[in-house]
Symmetry: C2
Subunit: 179 residues, 2 copies
Protein backbone atom coordinates (compact mmCIF):
# COMPACT_ATOMS: atom_id res chain seq x y z
CA UNK A 1 0.00 0.00 0.00
CA UNK A 2 3.05 2.24 0.34
CA UNK A 3 3.34 4.21 -2.89
CA UNK A 4 7.07 4.76 -2.58
CA UNK A 5 7.66 1.10 -2.10
CA UNK A 6 5.43 0.07 -4.96
CA UNK A 7 7.08 2.54 -7.31
CA UNK A 8 10.43 1.13 -6.39
CA UNK A 9 9.30 -2.41 -6.92
CA UNK A 10 8.03 -1.58 -10.39
CA UNK A 11 11.22 0.22 -11.27
CA UNK A 12 13.34 -2.62 -10.08
CA UNK A 13 11.43 -5.10 -12.16
CA UNK A 14 11.68 -2.96 -15.25
CA UNK A 15 15.38 -2.37 -14.69
CA UNK A 16 15.91 -6.09 -14.39
CA UNK A 17 14.06 -6.59 -17.65
CA UNK A 18 16.13 -3.98 -19.41
CA UNK A 19 19.30 -5.62 -18.11
CA UNK A 20 18.14 -9.03 -19.32
CA UNK A 21 17.45 -7.55 -22.68
CA UNK A 22 20.83 -5.88 -22.95
CA UNK A 23 22.20 -9.27 -22.13
CA UNK A 24 21.09 -10.38 -25.58
CA UNK A 25 23.43 -7.79 -27.01
CA UNK A 26 26.37 -9.11 -25.07
CA UNK A 27 26.19 -6.67 -22.20
CA UNK A 28 26.67 -7.97 -18.69
CA UNK A 29 23.82 -8.00 -16.22
CA UNK A 30 25.61 -5.57 -13.93
CA UNK A 31 26.26 -3.09 -16.67
CA UNK A 32 22.73 -3.49 -17.92
CA UNK A 33 21.36 -2.85 -14.46
CA UNK A 34 23.53 0.21 -14.14
CA UNK A 35 22.17 1.54 -17.39
CA UNK A 36 18.58 0.80 -16.37
CA UNK A 37 19.14 2.48 -13.05
CA UNK A 38 20.54 5.58 -14.69
CA UNK A 39 17.68 5.57 -17.17
CA UNK A 40 15.12 5.90 -14.40
CA UNK A 41 17.20 8.20 -12.29
CA UNK A 42 16.15 11.66 -13.26
CA UNK A 43 19.36 13.40 -12.38
CA UNK A 44 22.93 12.73 -13.42
CA UNK A 45 24.72 10.55 -10.93
CA UNK A 46 28.19 10.35 -9.49
CA UNK A 47 30.18 7.16 -9.19
CA UNK A 48 29.66 7.19 -5.46
CA UNK A 49 25.92 7.43 -5.82
CA UNK A 50 25.90 4.52 -8.25
CA UNK A 51 28.06 2.50 -5.94
CA UNK A 52 25.66 3.25 -3.14
CA UNK A 53 22.59 2.42 -5.18
CA UNK A 54 23.85 -0.83 -6.62
CA UNK A 55 25.93 -1.95 -3.67
CA UNK A 56 29.00 -2.51 -5.76
CA UNK A 57 32.56 -1.23 -5.66
CA UNK A 58 33.51 2.12 -7.04
CA UNK A 59 35.99 0.40 -9.31
CA UNK A 60 33.18 -1.52 -10.92
CA UNK A 61 31.14 1.61 -11.38
CA UNK A 62 34.08 3.30 -13.02
CA UNK A 63 34.70 0.56 -15.53
CA UNK A 64 31.03 -0.11 -16.17
CA UNK A 65 30.33 3.50 -16.84
CA UNK A 66 33.24 3.65 -19.23
CA UNK A 67 31.83 0.66 -21.02
CA UNK A 68 28.51 2.38 -21.39
CA UNK A 69 30.20 5.54 -22.55
CA UNK A 70 32.08 3.63 -25.22
CA UNK A 71 28.71 2.44 -26.45
CA UNK A 72 27.37 5.97 -26.15
CA UNK A 73 24.66 4.74 -23.85
CA UNK A 74 25.81 7.07 -21.11
CA UNK A 75 27.32 10.51 -21.26
CA UNK A 76 29.33 12.58 -18.91
CA UNK A 77 27.74 15.88 -18.01
CA UNK A 78 29.13 19.02 -16.53
CA UNK A 79 27.74 20.69 -13.50
CA UNK A 80 29.62 23.55 -12.03
CA UNK A 81 30.37 23.29 -8.38
CA UNK A 82 30.66 19.53 -8.35
CA UNK A 83 34.15 18.12 -8.40
CA UNK A 84 32.79 14.70 -9.11
CA UNK A 85 32.07 13.44 -12.57
CA UNK A 86 28.40 13.19 -13.38
CA UNK A 87 26.86 10.69 -15.73
CA UNK A 88 23.45 10.30 -17.25
CA UNK A 89 21.80 7.76 -19.49
CA UNK A 90 21.18 8.41 -23.14
CA UNK A 91 17.39 8.39 -23.20
CA UNK A 92 16.74 8.02 -26.90
CA UNK A 93 16.76 4.32 -27.55
CA UNK A 94 16.61 4.73 -31.29
CA UNK A 95 19.85 6.63 -31.07
CA UNK A 96 21.25 4.03 -28.72
CA UNK A 97 20.37 1.32 -31.18
CA UNK A 98 22.07 3.16 -34.03
CA UNK A 99 25.20 3.90 -32.06
CA UNK A 100 25.43 0.40 -30.71
CA UNK A 101 25.53 -1.21 -34.10
CA UNK A 102 27.66 1.40 -35.72
CA UNK A 103 30.26 1.05 -33.04
CA UNK A 104 30.13 -2.71 -32.76
CA UNK A 105 29.81 -3.67 -36.37
CA UNK A 106 31.76 -1.17 -38.38
CA UNK A 107 35.20 -2.18 -37.24
CA UNK A 108 34.38 -5.88 -37.52
CA UNK A 109 33.04 -5.48 -41.00
CA UNK A 110 36.00 -3.59 -42.34
CA UNK A 111 38.44 -5.98 -40.73
CA UNK A 112 36.70 -8.86 -42.44
CA UNK A 113 36.64 -7.10 -45.76
CA UNK A 114 40.37 -6.52 -45.56
CA UNK A 115 41.15 -10.12 -44.70
CA UNK A 116 38.80 -11.57 -47.32
CA UNK A 117 40.04 -9.29 -50.06
CA UNK A 118 43.63 -10.10 -49.29
CA UNK A 119 42.86 -13.81 -49.15
CA UNK A 120 41.04 -13.80 -52.46
CA UNK A 121 44.07 -12.15 -54.00
CA UNK A 122 46.39 -14.76 -52.60
CA UNK A 123 44.26 -17.63 -53.79
CA UNK A 124 43.92 -16.11 -57.23
CA UNK A 125 47.67 -15.95 -57.45
CA UNK A 126 47.78 -19.55 -56.30
CA UNK A 127 45.45 -20.87 -58.97
CA UNK A 128 47.35 -19.04 -61.66
CA UNK A 129 50.50 -20.95 -60.86
CA UNK A 130 51.21 -23.84 -63.21
CA UNK A 131 52.83 -26.16 -60.77
CA UNK A 132 49.80 -26.24 -58.49
CA UNK A 133 47.94 -29.49 -58.17
CA UNK A 134 44.58 -29.53 -59.93
CA UNK A 135 42.76 -30.62 -56.84
CA UNK A 136 44.19 -27.74 -54.87
CA UNK A 137 43.32 -25.38 -57.64
CA UNK A 138 39.67 -26.34 -57.75
CA UNK A 139 39.45 -26.19 -53.98
CA UNK A 140 40.87 -22.69 -54.13
CA UNK A 141 38.33 -21.71 -56.74
CA UNK A 142 35.51 -22.86 -54.48
CA UNK A 143 36.98 -20.93 -51.58
CA UNK A 144 37.25 -17.79 -53.66
CA UNK A 145 33.58 -18.06 -54.52
CA UNK A 146 32.67 -18.37 -50.88
CA UNK A 147 34.72 -15.38 -49.93
CA UNK A 148 33.22 -13.33 -52.71
CA UNK A 149 29.79 -14.21 -51.41
CA UNK A 150 30.94 -13.13 -47.98
CA UNK A 151 32.24 -9.86 -49.34
CA UNK A 152 28.95 -9.06 -50.98
CA UNK A 153 27.21 -9.77 -47.68
CA UNK A 154 29.57 -7.47 -45.81
CA UNK A 155 28.93 -4.79 -48.36
CA UNK A 156 25.23 -5.13 -47.72
CA UNK A 157 25.78 -5.00 -43.98
CA UNK A 158 27.78 -1.84 -44.39
CA UNK A 159 24.97 -0.29 -46.36
CA UNK A 160 22.51 -1.38 -43.70
CA UNK A 161 24.55 0.35 -41.04
CA UNK A 162 24.77 3.37 -43.32
CA UNK A 163 21.00 3.50 -43.36
CA UNK A 164 21.03 3.43 -39.56
CA UNK A 165 23.57 6.18 -39.23
CA UNK A 166 21.91 8.40 -41.79
CA UNK A 167 18.56 7.61 -40.17
CA UNK A 168 17.35 6.69 -43.61
CA UNK A 169 16.08 3.48 -42.08
CA UNK A 170 13.27 5.47 -40.49
CA UNK A 171 12.02 6.32 -43.95
CA UNK A 172 11.42 2.62 -44.52
CA UNK A 173 10.54 1.60 -40.99
CA UNK A 174 9.00 4.70 -39.45
CA UNK A 175 9.33 5.31 -35.77
CA UNK A 176 5.60 5.61 -35.35
CA UNK A 177 3.18 3.19 -36.86
CA UNK A 178 0.50 4.37 -39.37
CA UNK A 179 1.77 7.79 -40.09
Amino acid sequence: MDGQEQLERVRERVIETIAKNMNLYGITDSIGRLYGMLYFHNHPMTLDEMKEELGMSKTSMSTSVRNLMDLKMVEKVWKKGSRKDLYQAEEDWYQTFIDFFSIKWRSGISMNIVVMTKSIGELEKLISMDEVDDEIRSAAIVDIEKMKAALSYYDWLNRLVDSFESEEIFKYIPKTKDE
Copy 2:
Protein backbone atom coordinates in the same frame (compact mmCIF):
# COMPACT_ATOMS: atom_id res chain seq x y z
CA MET B 1 55.52 -22.89 -52.14
CA ASP B 2 53.31 -25.84 -51.28
CA GLY B 3 49.85 -25.06 -52.62
CA GLN B 4 48.07 -27.28 -50.14
CA GLU B 5 49.78 -25.60 -47.26
CA GLN B 6 49.14 -22.13 -48.54
CA LEU B 7 45.47 -22.84 -49.11
CA GLU B 8 45.21 -24.10 -45.58
CA ARG B 9 46.93 -21.07 -44.18
CA VAL B 10 44.54 -18.77 -45.99
CA ARG B 11 41.55 -20.76 -44.83
CA GLU B 12 42.72 -20.73 -41.27
CA ARG B 13 43.16 -16.99 -41.28
CA VAL B 14 39.74 -16.42 -42.79
CA ILE B 15 38.14 -18.81 -40.32
CA GLU B 16 39.77 -16.97 -37.47
CA THR B 17 38.41 -13.72 -38.84
CA ILE B 18 34.92 -15.14 -39.12
CA ALA B 19 35.15 -16.38 -35.55
CA LYS B 20 36.29 -12.99 -34.31
CA ASN B 21 33.39 -11.42 -36.10
CA MET B 22 30.84 -13.81 -34.66
CA ASN B 23 32.34 -12.88 -31.34
CA LEU B 24 30.76 -9.47 -31.75
CA TYR B 25 27.42 -11.21 -31.79
CA GLY B 26 28.07 -12.97 -28.54
CA ILE B 27 29.23 -16.26 -30.03
CA THR B 28 32.31 -17.85 -28.50
CA ASP B 29 35.53 -18.22 -30.44
CA SER B 30 35.29 -22.00 -30.45
CA ILE B 31 31.80 -22.04 -31.83
CA GLY B 32 32.72 -19.39 -34.34
CA ARG B 33 35.69 -21.39 -35.48
CA LEU B 34 33.54 -24.46 -35.81
CA TYR B 35 31.12 -22.57 -38.01
CA GLY B 36 33.92 -21.15 -40.12
CA MET B 37 35.43 -24.56 -40.52
CA LEU B 38 32.13 -26.04 -41.63
CA TYR B 39 31.62 -23.14 -43.98
CA PHE B 40 34.77 -23.97 -45.89
CA HIS B 41 34.38 -27.69 -45.64
CA ASN B 42 32.58 -28.70 -48.76
CA HIS B 43 30.95 -31.80 -47.41
CA PRO B 44 28.77 -32.34 -44.37
CA MET B 45 30.80 -33.43 -41.38
CA THR B 46 30.34 -35.82 -38.51
CA LEU B 47 31.05 -34.96 -34.91
CA ASP B 48 34.12 -37.16 -35.00
CA GLU B 49 35.49 -35.36 -38.01
CA MET B 50 34.98 -32.00 -36.34
CA LYS B 51 36.61 -33.25 -33.20
CA GLU B 52 39.54 -34.41 -35.26
CA GLU B 53 39.80 -31.18 -37.21
CA LEU B 54 39.56 -28.83 -34.26
CA GLY B 55 41.32 -31.01 -31.71
CA MET B 56 38.53 -30.70 -29.21
CA SER B 57 36.36 -33.16 -27.37
CA LYS B 58 33.37 -34.78 -28.97
CA THR B 59 31.22 -33.42 -26.18
CA SER B 60 32.19 -29.91 -27.15
CA MET B 61 31.42 -30.60 -30.77
CA SER B 62 28.03 -31.91 -29.80
CA THR B 63 27.06 -28.88 -27.75
CA SER B 64 28.61 -26.39 -30.13
CA VAL B 65 26.81 -27.85 -33.07
CA ARG B 66 23.55 -27.72 -31.18
CA ASN B 67 24.19 -24.09 -30.44
CA LEU B 68 24.71 -23.39 -34.10
CA MET B 69 21.62 -25.36 -34.98
CA ASP B 70 19.55 -23.30 -32.55
CA LEU B 71 20.75 -20.24 -34.42
CA LYS B 72 20.02 -21.99 -37.72
CA MET B 73 23.60 -21.48 -38.75
CA VAL B 74 24.11 -25.21 -39.15
CA GLU B 75 21.73 -27.92 -40.27
CA LYS B 76 21.65 -31.64 -39.90
CA VAL B 77 21.61 -33.49 -43.18
CA TRP B 78 20.70 -37.01 -44.04
CA LYS B 79 22.90 -39.34 -45.94
CA LYS B 80 21.84 -42.91 -46.26
CA GLY B 81 24.39 -45.44 -45.24
CA SER B 82 25.96 -43.31 -42.57
CA ARG B 83 24.92 -44.01 -39.03
CA LYS B 84 26.53 -40.81 -37.88
CA ASP B 85 24.79 -37.48 -37.88
CA LEU B 86 26.01 -35.14 -40.54
CA TYR B 87 26.07 -31.39 -40.27
CA GLN B 88 26.71 -28.61 -42.72
CA ALA B 89 26.93 -24.85 -42.50
CA GLU B 90 24.16 -22.63 -43.71
CA GLU B 91 25.90 -20.83 -46.55
CA ASP B 92 23.56 -17.94 -47.12
CA TRP B 93 24.73 -15.26 -44.76
CA TYR B 94 21.79 -13.03 -45.47
CA GLN B 95 19.56 -15.80 -44.22
CA THR B 96 21.84 -16.35 -41.27
CA PHE B 97 21.61 -12.70 -40.41
CA ILE B 98 17.83 -12.74 -40.55
CA ASP B 99 17.51 -15.89 -38.49
CA PHE B 100 19.98 -14.73 -35.93
CA PHE B 101 18.13 -11.58 -35.11
CA SER B 102 14.70 -13.08 -35.33
CA ILE B 103 15.66 -15.78 -32.90
CA LYS B 104 17.61 -13.59 -30.54
CA TRP B 105 15.46 -10.53 -30.46
CA ARG B 106 11.88 -11.63 -30.79
CA SER B 107 11.55 -13.27 -27.43
CA GLY B 108 13.40 -10.49 -25.67
CA ILE B 109 11.24 -7.84 -27.25
CA SER B 110 7.97 -9.46 -26.35
CA MET B 111 9.08 -10.13 -22.82
CA ASN B 112 9.96 -6.48 -22.42
CA ILE B 113 6.68 -5.37 -23.89
CA VAL B 114 4.80 -7.53 -21.43
CA VAL B 115 6.70 -6.21 -18.43
CA MET B 116 6.50 -2.58 -19.51
CA THR B 117 2.81 -2.75 -20.27
CA LYS B 118 2.05 -4.35 -16.96
CA SER B 119 4.21 -1.83 -15.14
CA ILE B 120 2.56 1.13 -16.82
CA GLY B 121 -0.79 -0.24 -15.73
CA GLU B 122 0.35 -0.57 -12.16
CA LEU B 123 1.76 2.92 -12.02
CA GLU B 124 -1.36 4.37 -13.58
CA LYS B 125 -3.37 2.74 -10.87
CA LEU B 126 -0.93 4.15 -8.35
CA ILE B 127 -1.24 7.74 -9.52
CA SER B 128 -5.00 7.52 -9.50
CA MET B 129 -5.03 6.76 -5.79
CA ASP B 130 -5.86 9.74 -3.61
CA GLU B 131 -3.74 8.85 -0.67
CA VAL B 132 -0.54 8.79 -2.69
CA ASP B 133 2.06 11.41 -1.97
CA ASP B 134 2.37 14.08 -4.63
CA GLU B 135 6.06 13.55 -5.04
CA ILE B 136 5.56 9.86 -5.63
CA ARG B 137 2.79 10.62 -8.08
CA SER B 138 4.89 12.90 -10.22
CA ALA B 139 7.79 10.46 -10.14
CA ALA B 140 5.41 7.77 -11.34
CA ILE B 141 4.20 10.00 -14.13
CA VAL B 142 7.77 10.50 -15.32
CA ASP B 143 8.39 6.77 -15.20
CA ILE B 144 5.26 6.08 -17.20
CA GLU B 145 6.47 8.44 -19.89
CA LYS B 146 9.80 6.67 -20.06
CA MET B 147 8.18 3.29 -20.35
CA LYS B 148 5.87 4.50 -23.06
CA ALA B 149 8.87 5.75 -24.97
CA ALA B 150 10.44 2.32 -24.50
CA LEU B 151 7.29 0.62 -25.75
CA SER B 152 7.26 2.67 -28.91
CA TYR B 153 10.89 1.75 -29.47
CA TYR B 154 10.14 -1.94 -29.02
CA ASP B 155 7.30 -1.65 -31.45
CA TRP B 156 9.71 -0.19 -33.97
CA LEU B 157 12.22 -2.93 -33.32
CA ASN B 158 9.52 -5.52 -33.89
CA ARG B 159 8.67 -3.94 -37.20
CA LEU B 160 12.34 -3.88 -38.11
CA VAL B 161 12.61 -7.59 -37.44
CA ASP B 162 9.41 -8.07 -39.44
CA SER B 163 11.12 -6.43 -42.38
CA PHE B 164 14.00 -8.85 -41.98
CA GLU B 165 11.82 -11.91 -41.81
CA SER B 166 9.66 -10.87 -44.74
CA GLU B 167 12.84 -9.91 -46.61
CA GLU B 168 11.22 -6.58 -47.25
CA ILE B 169 14.43 -5.03 -45.99
CA PHE B 170 16.06 -6.03 -49.27
CA LYS B 171 13.66 -3.75 -51.07
CA TYR B 172 15.18 -0.84 -49.19
CA ILE B 173 18.72 -2.07 -48.88
CA PRO B 174 19.22 -4.29 -51.91
CA LYS B 175 21.57 -7.21 -51.73
CA THR B 176 23.52 -6.00 -54.71
CA LYS B 177 24.59 -2.43 -55.14
CA ASP B 178 23.42 -0.42 -58.18
CA GLU B 179 20.79 -2.70 -59.46
